[in-house]
Subunit: 67 residues, 12 copies
């Protein structure tokens, strides 16, 4: 049985906060395949057209290659 | 017409949380001149004299040089 | 009188968010000895067995060597 | 609707120059699925057997997870 | 013919050593599609429940996009 | 006489290439005040709505504080 | 119950190899208090007076603050 | 009242030493507006035409945005 | 006999200069337990209330775990 | 037969562009001894006295120690 | 007598492991001139034509300038 | 005429201070061939057998390849 993990990189979006962007993206990745761990690697953002702060959080996600 | 952006660096303060410090600082910079994007580059802090955690979040902010 | 500071490294855990993990760990370190400042150096996490996001936040904490 | 982005990593090859290697790789990735943004992360290269400089440029490419 | 390479990220596990973890992960990736090169990017680990050191080695692997 | 230099950060835009984006931004900064040196610190970009690669190059520019 | 982890930094020595230096240092730290995880952060070395390669491997070790 | 800090970047010059270059640049910045803190980020230099070492020290300086 | 080294992190303070701050902190650490080596990892500072530059220099110090 | 490579560091100069500076420096190094590979590590520059952008590109070059 | 050290950069090759590549390269450098210390700075590799993992380990080597 | 620069790496030693170690090493390199510029890249040290702090400062030095 393979014990290898894949690491994928995703960017999550939230107007609430950094932690909310992380939660959303990790849960979505987990719905595809069970997430082992994650690492937050970048926190950027922009102002939306209606004046809200939008956080764009880059996360590396580790999952078993073959579940 | 110039398409150049300036990047300025600011540190925002909040006793609520990291995202709150970012929001405050980006909105303040936006009130001076329209913000294009931002990048969170450092998260530090201290304890206030009345025992609260104070977050000090360094943010780089990109804005059109000539709006 | 010595003016030297020690810097210790801790990892705090929270299922609420990154700022909550920082607050918990800095207040705990402060209960041992007065905290001068802190720096957030790593934000990782995992999914708990009941499907919650658990943030693991690494923080460097500066304290006077001799209080 | 998901607002998540995937970030993939590619290395493009060009004997013309760094910008040409970037253009080729981003356009190819865009032909598979619409590219949102890219970041140049490494610039290496070698000499080809007929004595030309070959640029090998590593690029991270962000695309909507579900277009 | 495309000359683009994809770069994927994997974590290999070994209780023998760092080089063994790299070998296992690169050979496994090669069995899927021919590996061009690899880069070791992180070396972590933990103690297993029976007291052995388990190395967890993160490796970036470059492969031709279309073999 | 002060010998201090200020360092400002700008992002230049070009659909031609990275070097072109640098040239544009450094010449523009020089038209305001004489440029001493520059350092390229980030190379990103996006696809324009008409399918061209747009390079966004971040440059730090050193200029005498008082010319 | 506290869920905080301490992170300590150690340098292990081995004339056999990098993995051996890591194993020695992690097992020694574990004999003091149960090790949660470790990260290899630096690999240096010197030649011993009798001409052997001596590896000096810096490792960060995470352990529960209160076991 | 705004609690935001601006961070500016300056390069100081001294033929005496690194600390002297830092002192000169921070005091000069303070004479414009009260300095909160500084960080040394780069130490370079050159030989002057009369054979002296000239230190060029890059410093980031934090000051209250509105004093 | 254990050949393991511990690495501790300290911040030294001096209004004279960076080297003076390093000397003070390394000698103080040596008075507790014999210092093997040190690495300067950060140089920051502030202005004291009477207008002097105060250097705050972070140093990692390696010492034999069991002297 | 030795399979060791030496890595040397050079800075190339060009008023045309970054790729041109790289090409010039790698071909010159190759005329001394066959170049195996190169890595671009820094891109700086200045304005020449006649107002042209001069790129200064730092490149690490790998060559067989004994050809 | 000069106390200056030179630092050279080499890449060692081994199909056995990372530590073996380091040993080979440091001993070879030592046969030219006495090695003071070394630092491992990069670990890459490729698959040989007969399917073996080849480690390519970049090492910085410090030696007295004048032995 | 070649405009290429070589970059060499040296470590200077001083018990006086960091700036003194830099001066010594740059002047020595200049006595061999005219130095264009230098960059301080690492500051370490040890305690000498008679209890003095010895600074070991790593410097990259740029010189015209052909003077």
């Amino acid at each position: 049985m393979s014990k290898t993990f894949e690491v994928i990189e995703r960017v999550g979006i939230s107007t609430e906060g950094i932690s909310e962007a992380v939660k959303e993206i990790v849960l979505e990745a987990n719905s595809e395949k069970k997430v082992g761990w994650f690492e937050v690697v970048e926190q950027r953002g922009r102002l939306t057209s209606d004046g809200k702060i939008e956080f764009q959080v880059k996360v590396r996600i580790g999952r078993k290659l073959k579940d």
